[in-house]
């Protein structure tokens, strides 16, 4: 579609003051204004910051992955209907925003990106790291996934199939990484401790525990 002229006018580049001289002061001033106008509640702002700094982050996703590793029925539900399966663990809502989980195997490697902006599975991974939102990753992972994964230290065999998932719509993707060898004796909690954010984005494998195999 074509933006109408009024829309273009409104959006005119000069409207943006995108290089604030001092973000701390300007943001403080904006917060005071919005609180005074009753547009935002300061306690809600504090709670939102606390939520994403301390409550919602990759530990959520790690618990989803660990559950899938120890519970085949859960894994089947997770791959068939991730939204509901993740809601079972309390990290989202069955009626909420939609999730999709893609499974890594010895022959298939999945990796997630949002080439157009910064879409990321907040309920299970929290807020995205800077590299995920930045031009080098967004631009190149679709055209040269093997090269980009190599920069993360992940070398894939030639016969592995790479699937890049570009989050262009409102589905949010999570990679179910392979369970590393030598973890047969670990319980769900110990397994979850091994799972990293990077593995759930698909730019790393889950490393086996150093103490694996020891009683």
């Amino acid at each position: 579609m074509t933006a109408n002229p009024a829309d273009r006018q409104e959006h005119h580049h000069h409207e943006h003051q995108s290089v604030p001289s001092d973000p701390t002061l300007r943001v403080k001033a904006l917060e005071s204004l919005l609180v005074e106008k009753g547009l935002v509640d300061r306690n809600a702002l504090d709670a939102l910051v606390d939520t994403y700094e301390n409550k919602i982050g990759p530990r959520n996703g790690a618990r989803v992955v660990a559950r899938a590793w120890v519970d085949a029925a859960y894994k089947a539900r997770l791959l068939a209907d991730a939204t509901s399966a993740i809601a079972e663990l309390g990290y989202s809502s069955k009626q909420g925003d939609r999730m999709l989980v893609v499974e890594n195997t010895p022959k298939v490697h999945n990796v997630i990106v949002c080439t157009l902006c910064s879409c990321y599975p907040w309920p299970v991974l929290g807020l995205p790291p800077v590299w995920y939102k930045s031009a080098p990753y967004r631009s190149r992972v679709v055209i040269d996934p093997r090269g980009v994964l190599g920069e993360f230290g992940l070398e894939l065999a030639e016969d592995v199939e790479v699937r890049v998932w570009d989050s262009t719509a409102e589905l949010r993707y999570l990679v179910l990484p392979e369970r590393p060898a030598g973890t047969e004796r670990l319980n769900e909690e110990q397994l979850a401790a091994l799972v990293t954010r990077d593995a759930m984005v698909g730019v790393a494998r889950v490393a086996p525990p150093e103490a694996a195999g020891k009683p």
């Binding site: 904006l30 009753g38 999709l100």
Partner: protein, 219 residues
């Protein structure tokens, strides 16, 4: 819009800049911008598509240079003004207009746990006929709208296969401009890497792109 944000397939952006033990926010002001954005968004005076388009309208040089949350800060100010929550005079002075009634914030701390899981709120539980079936070969339309779109340039004109039907979602190309939700099916479409990038790509690799009905035509 064929903007700098639509960067999939570019190659000159430099190496991945990885930060070990990266904090969620790099400065307190970033966390306040983030929180204000979510809290002010609860007024539903704009939608996520409008926000994305606002960010896309940043001058290209700024888009690449200015930090992520500074971009959010700029977009938040822009949307507050354009959607009438704050007047230009208030933004300039930093104080509410004299005599302006105080509003009641829609998002309070107790409502956060219920609000966050449905933050995107783009799925529509309504019956709309899908134009394509799983397994069907489709071509991404060669369109170059000057407004918002979520059809990346690298996929336009390329042929892929419908792999999943995700159900019905609001259509960003109209929703971003407040021209209606135009709900329609979204599919996961698999494009062979060689269809997108030629022989330099591995033959078995692929890129999956989520596509609305209006982005596709039969191949």
């Amino acid at each position: 819009m064929n903007g700098i944000h639509d960067m999939g397939g570019m190659q000159d952006m430099g190496p991945i800049q990885y930060e070990r033990n990266e904090p969620v926010f790099h400065a307190p002001w970033e966390s306040r911008v983030f929180a204000m954005f979510i809290a002010a968004g609860a007024w539903r005076k704009w939608n996520l598509d409008a926000f994305r388009h606002t960010r896309e309208m940043l001058p290209p040089a700024d888009y690449l240079l200015v930090s992520y949350y500074e971009q959010w800060h700029s977009c938040l100010r822009d949307l507050l003004l354009r959607r009438g929550l704050v007047s230009a005079a208030e933004m300039a002075s930093g104080v509410p207009a004299p005599g302006a009634p105080k509003a009641t914030p829609p998002l309070t701390a107790d409502r956060i746990p219920a609000a966050l899981p449905n933050r995107i709120h783009a799925h529509r539980d309504i019956s709309v006929s899908p134009r394509f079936q799983v397994g069907e070969r489709v071509r991404a339309r060669n369109i170059n709208p000057t407004g918002h779109t979520r059809l990346p340039r690298y996929a336009r004109g390329k042929v892929g296969t419908v792999c999943l039907d995700h159900g019905v979602y609001v259509f960003p190309d109209t929703n971003a401009h407040f021209l209606g939700e135009n709900p329609q099916h979204v599919y996961s479409v698999r494009f062979a890497a060689r269809e997108l990038w030629g022989q330099q790509a591995a033959p078995q690799d692929s890129v999956y792109v989520d596509m609305w009905d209006d982005y596709l035509e039969p191949a």
